[in-house]
Amino acid sequence: MTSSKQALAHSASSADAAPGSQPGAARRAHGRGTPPPGPGSWRSRLYRWDMKASPYAFIAPFFIFFGAFGLVPLLYTAWYSLHNVQLSNLDQQTWVGLDNYENLLSSDFFWGALQNTFTIGVISTVPQLVMAIGIAHLLNYKLRGSTMWRVVMLTPYATSVAAATLVFVLLYSWDGGMINWLLHFVGVDPVNWRESTWGSQFAVSSIVIWRWTGYNALIYLAAMQAIPADLYESASLDGANRWQQFRHVTIPMLRPTILFTVVVSTIGATQLFGEPLLFGGVSGSKGGSEHQYQTLGLYMYDQGWIIGNLGKASAIAWTMFLILLIVAAVNLLITRRLRKSR
C-alpha cells in the first residue's frame, strides 16, 4: 500500500513539473499529449517499472487477503484435524493422528448428518431449479411491468437466513401455525413440522426454496434472453408449438446455465447451516430432538462450538470438502457424458 501511495505522489509531482503545464491546466495537458518520456530518463524508467508492477499491485489485495484468510486457514484446518484441540483449553494441542476421522466415521450422528444433508439438498435443489426455469420462462414473455415482476420474485433473496427462518418457524408451528391451519381447510391433518423427520426436512428445505428460487429464475432468464430469436422462428416454421419450442430449443440452449446452477446449488446445499440451526430453536445445533435435520454444516458447528471439540470440527470441515470435490467430479463426468451423447 505504501509503495503505491508513493507512486501516486511521484506521478502527481511529475505531472506538475511537466513542461508547459500550468497549475490548473494539468488535466488539459494530460489530454492533449504531454510528450511520451524519452528513453533513459528516470521518468521513463519509473514509467516502465509502473507498467510492469502495477498489474501485480492491483491484483495483490485479493491474493493477500485470500491467502491469509482462506488458503492458509484451509491448510491449518487439515493440521488441526489431526490434533486434539478443545475450545476450553486452546493452548494444549496434542497430536492424535487420524483419531478424529476414525471417531467421525464410527459416529452414527455423522452418517445421519451426511444423509440429512443429501436428502435436504435434493428436496431443496430439485424443485427450486425446476420452478426457477418455469418462472424464468414466464418472465421472458413481454410483460407489463416486467421489472416489477423481477424485483418481486427476487425479494426473498434480500431476507436473511435468520429472519426468514424465524418467520417460517412460526408459520410451521404445531398450534396456531399458518400452514397447519391452511392444511385444515383442505382436509389434511396437522403435521408436526418440528418432530417428524420428513416434515422437518421438508420445512427446512422450503425455506431454502423460498429464498433462492427467484435468484435462480433471474439467472435462467438472463440465459434465455441470450438465445437467438431465429432459433424460435425456424422451430415455429417447422411447426413446433410453444411447449415443443420450450423443450427442444430453450432447455438444450440452457444446458450450460443449468449445470452452473446445479453446481452452485449443490455447493450451497452441502454447506446448509443457518436454516436448520434456527429452525430447531433452543435445540438448534442438534438439528432437532432426534437429530432429524442435523446437516453436516450444523454438525460441525455443534461439535466445534457447542461441545467444544475443535479438532473434530476441523475433521468434519475437511470431510465436507472431500465430499464437495467428489460431487464436483461426478458433475464433471455427467457433463462429459451428456456432451458425448449429443
Binding site: 514509467y47 499491485a57 418472465l139 412460526l170 433471474l218 475443535l310
Partner: protein, 305 residues
C-alpha cells in the same frame, strides 16, 4: 442508472441486432430473444408466485403487530393489530438490535467499500493489462469460489482469539474484504465497457497506472461498481456462519442478534417477529430503491458467469 446502462455498449448492439428491430427503448432490449406477449394466464400465475414471494414478509408485519398469545391461537391473525410499535421497541431494546444495526452497518459498509475497490482494481488488471501468468491467476481466482467458508473457520477462530480480537468487528470484516466473484464480475464488465484505446491514449500521454485508474477506469466502471456494491452489501448484511462463531451477544451483528433471539429463551414470538422485521427492513428499503439495479446485476453476472 437504468438496467440497459449495465450492459456494455457492444452487448447492447448485439442484442438489438438479434431482436431484429430498431432496438430503441429499454423494454425491447430486455425482452429481446423472444417477442411473445404474456397472456392473462401468465399474469395470473405470476401474481400467485409474487404473492408466495411476498406473503411471508407481509405476514411478518402482521405477526409483529400482535401479542404472543394471539399468535398461538387458531386461526392465525391475518390483519394488523395494535402492538407493532411496542413489539418493535421491545425487540430493539431487549434483543440488542440497536447495537446490532450499528455494527451491521459498519461491517457491511466496510466490506462493501473494500470489495468494490479491490475487485475493480484486480478486475481492471485482468481485463486490460498484460502481465505474466495473468490467465493462470485469473483461473486461480475463480477456482477459490469452490472453497467453502467452513474450511477456514476453526483456524480463524483460534487466531482471532490469540490476537485478542474475539467479539470485535474487524474479526468479521477482514476475512470477507475481498471477493473472487467481485473480481470476476468487474473483469467481465471492463473487458467490454472500457475501450483499450482509452488506456493506450492515456499511456501515450505518460499517465501513470494510478492516474489511469482514477481518471479512466473508475468512471467507466461506475455502473458495475454500484451494482457490485449493492450485491456485496446484501451478502455482507446477511452473512451468518462466521459472525455467529466470531461474535457474541455483547457485540452482535443483526444476524447474531436474531440468532440469539431465535435460539434463546425469549418466549415472545411477536417480539421475535418484530426483530426479524427490523433486521430485514434496511435491505427491503434498499430493494425498493435499487431493486432494478440489483436484478440487472444478478442477470449480468449470470450471463457472463
Amino acid at each position: 442508472m437504468t438496467t440497459s446502462e449495465l450492459t456494455p455498449p457492444q452487448a447492447q448492439d448485439e442484442v438489438a441486432r438479434k431482436s431484429g428491430r430498431d432496438g430503441s427503448g429499454r423494454r425491447r432490449l430486455l425482452g429481446a430473444g423472444k417477442q411473445l406477449h404474456g397472456g392473462p394466464v401468465t399474469y395470473v400465475v405470476l401474481a400467485v408466485l409474487a404473492f408466495v414471494s411476498l406473503a411471508p414478509l407481509l405476514w411478518t408485519v402482521v405477526a409483529s403487530s400482535r401479542t404472543n398469545q394471539r399468535l398461538a391461537e387458531t386461526p392465525p391473525p391475518l390483519w394488523i393489530g395494535g402492538n407493532l410499535f411496542k413489539n418493535l421497541q421491545t425487540a430493539w431494546e431487549e434483543g440488542g438490535l440497536g447495537t446490532a444495526m450499528v455494527n451491521s452497518t459498519i461491517v457491511a459498509g466496510t466490506i462493501t467499500v473494500g470489495t468494490v475497490l479491490f475487485s475493480t482494481l484486480a478486475g481492471f488488471a485482468f481485463a486490460k493489462l498484460r502481465f505474466r501468468f495473468s490467465n493462470t491467476l485469473l483461473l486461480l481466482t475463480i477456482g477459490t469460489m469452490m472453497i467453502p467458508p467452513q474450511l477456514a473457520v476453526v483456524p480463524l477462530y483460534l487466531w482471532m482469539s490469540e490476537l485478542g480480537w474475539s467479539n470485535q468487528l474487524q474479526t468479521v470484516i477482514l476475512p470477507t474484504l475481498v471477493s473472487a466473484f467481485g473480481t470476476f464480475f468487474m473483469r467481465q464488465y471492463l473487458v467490454q465497457a472500457l475501450p483499450s484505446e482509452l488506456i493506450e491514449a492515456a499511456r501515450v500521454d505518460g499517465a501513470s497506472s494510478l492516474r489511469i485508474v482514477w481518471h479512466v477506469v473508475f468512471p467507466a466502471a461506475r455502473p458495475a461498481m454500484a451494482v457490485l456494491g449493492l450485491l456485496t452489501f446484501v451478502m455482507a448484511w446477511n452473512d451468518f456462519l462466521w459472525p455467529i462463531i466470531a461474535l457474541n451477544q455483547q457485540n452482535p451483528t443483526v444476524q447474531v442478534a436474531l440468532n440469539s433471539l431465535g435460539t434463546g429463551y425469549v418466549p415472545d414470538q411477536a417480539v421475535i417477529m418484530a426483530g426479524a422485521l427490523l433486521g430485514t427492513l434496511p435491505l427491503l428499503i434498499a430493494f425498493l430503491l435499487f431493486g432494478k439495479q440489483i436484478v440487472g446485476g444478478i442477470m449480468q453476472g449470470a450471463i457472463k458467469g
